[in-house]
Point group: C2
Chain length 224, copies 2
């Protein structure tokens, strides 16, 4: 029943899929998953409904793909990127990451918060598969922090009497909470303030200077 095709489109399935993912991410970031309108996503991506339903079986699948293929990479690069590349002690690396995130928030981070956390809060109780996808990303994030702290413990730059995994989990929670409250207050200053206090908490995880340190004893004293 289709009439004459209005425009001749190049057939580039990967490009089309990427445009859909990108547009879906933006719309989901702004409105949330449930309130994100497929028609709006389609208009933004300049793609038709036929193309969408060729690449994804339904709206939920599009959402899962956004988490797995867009949000996950974004977040892990944001929060583990410096950690992986920086060669110094992990607490300093973490503090630098916090400072960088506070000084250079993403384009809409104050206004819209963290896209992963938004989806987590909205979708966790409603869609189990969504929850699993989101939580897997959080797990990778927590795991990255935990490994860094354990490395610090092995190297003697992090106190031995802390549970690295529990502290890592808390740090992620504090980051997300800080971002969420800053969003609610629409205040970049509040984000900076919260992350600064978190950085001071991290400072308290360094071994006491005079303790019999095994390997790398005292040497660092920088606050942020």
């Amino acid at each position: 029943m289709a009439k004459t095709p209005a425009r001749r489109r190049a057939r580039e399935p990967d490009v089309t899929r990427d445009k859909l993912l990108k547009a879906a991410f933006e719309e989901m970031y702004r409105r949330g998953f449930q309130a994100a309108s497929l028609d709006t996503i389609l208009a933004r991506a300049k793609v038709t409904k036929g193309a969408l339903y060729h690449h994804f079986p339904d709206k939920a699948a599009l959402g899962y793909a956004v988490v797995d293929e867009v949000v996950k990479g974004l977040l892990l690069e944001r929060w583990l990127g410096v950690l992986d590349r920086f060669t110094g002690d992990p607490l300093t690396a973490l503090q630098r990451t916090l400072q960088y995130r506070a000084a250079n928030p993403g384009p809409h981070e104050i206004e819209l918060g963290c896209p992963l956390n938004n989806l987590a809060q909205e979708m966790s109780p409603i869609d189990e598969r969504f929850r699993r996808a989101v939580n897997a990303t959080f797990d990778a994030w927590r795991g990255g922090f935990a490994r860094a702290l354990e490395r610090g413990q092995a190297e003697g730059s992090v106190r031995q009497d802390i549970d690295a995994r529990k502290v890592a989990s808390f740090v992620v929670a504090a980051v997300e909470g800080s971002s969420g409250l800053a969003k609610s207050a629409q205040s970049a200053a509040m984000l900076r303030s919260n992350l600064t206090v978190l950085s001071e908490f991290l400072e308290s995880l360094r071994p006491a200077a005079r303790t019999r340190g095994r390997k790398g004893a005292a040497k660092r004293g920088a606050a942020n």
Copy 2:
């Protein structure tokens, strides 16, 4: 055009309004504000649409009222109640509150998270009035914590070198983040773990034992 009324209802406007607020809160807590269906709320409250639109001009107004009249009181009682009644030092009061919240989460706190945070994350970028209502509640919460910490500083049970308001803000952020991640992980253990680490952070806010304390010197050493 209405036919004969099916049932003779007592006219109790305050009761009807309360039923609407309660049902709207529950539905908003489960699905979020935007996805909350008025018809579902009406069915749950056993109230008709005519009654709803008599008491509220539109759906948004119902949402604002839920924040101001249901969520606000719930949260402030939950997090400032103990603090206001407990007569000991504020850090201990805060730690007890954390421990109590970890051990006795609300009926759906793990599954659904914090109703205030849910609305904050969903509605802040979308509806400015919603954001203001939510943020006012957060402000009261932060203010309650800040006053407690300042009192502790005046009494000598809290370190002088911290900014009470910034720390209070951080603690609220950490609480909300902890609750949000626990919801995403569907794990009461994660909530407990996160709040325990937060409690240890609070412990670090006590003055060093050997410092020349003015009033209440050392006496407390309890961890949670």
